[in-house]
Symmetry: C2
Subunit: 153 residues, 2 copies
């Protein structure tokens, strides 16, 4: 059964065009839908240092959605891995999940740094980053994942 | 503009009923929609220790969705904070985001531990947990968030 979602906010400012790397210093705003939400919906958010953002890769081409396996970034030096074993944008449902730094909250606007989403991106959810939701136990990942992220921020 | 998503998998096994706490030892399966996806969609996933799961709080009552502020878990000992400054399930769009441990991958099934979603939960996306997507810089959170998570896992 399909699940129908309505954007609760949009990314404004920051980068205008999609890019693979160097997102760390990018500053942008997340503007809540001010028809449905008031400043109360963000009350207490500035007590957190980081924000988890769920957004929609609205510029991804539906014809390019991968449902099987491919080389991350089409780089043949990295193994062919399943779409659910990588984080590329050409994925079923086109959801991005990312953690960025909260610079400040001003009414229904959040100022952030290091959000890897371009101007105009629809935002589907915002959650505070809590230490308690970090992975339990030792984190292990393959070498390609560490290499890929080398220049990301 | 609404965004229409199709579940890519479902949670099977684990807990049958919603509970606030003690999710850490719960083991369950995530079963891909085998009509649309084959084992290739999970190729390489077992090289990661942890999985990020985006799911839908399908049992949440739409009439109870909070769009403003409330006490987390309705506990008056904790401050009234905005719905986007907490992680409760009665939220616009009803999305859950959680990181769990990968026990093994078997065809189109992933065996996991510590996923805080009940049997039957629709899954909208799966991503490998990469160290590179962890928060950059020091993480800060209010005392109530640390307290609330005390018995969660």
């Amino acid at each position: 059964m399909p699940i129908v979602l309505e954007p609760i906010a949009h990314v404004r400012g920051g980068r205008m065009d999609v890019a693979d790397d160097a997102w760390g210093a990018v500053e942008a705003r997340i503007e809540l839908d001010a028809i449905r939400f008031g400043p109360e919906a963000l009350a207490g958010l500035s007590d957190f240092s980081h924000l988890l953002v769920v957004y929609h890769f609205h510029l991804a081409d539906p014809r390019r959605i991968e449902t099987s396996a491919r080389h991350p970034r089409n780089n043949p030096a990295w193994p062919k891995v399943g779409i659910f074993a990588q984080r590329g944008k050409n994925r079923p449902n086109g959801l991005g999940v990312s953690v960025c730094e909260i610079l400040g909250v001003d009414g229904t606007t959040i100022h952030v740094r290091g959000l890897d989403a371009v101007d105009g991106t629809p935002v589907l959810d915002l959650k505070p980053h809590m230490k308690g939701f970090e992975p339990r136990g030792e984190v292990r990942e393959p070498a390609w994942a560490t290499e890929l992220m080398g220049g990301y921020w």
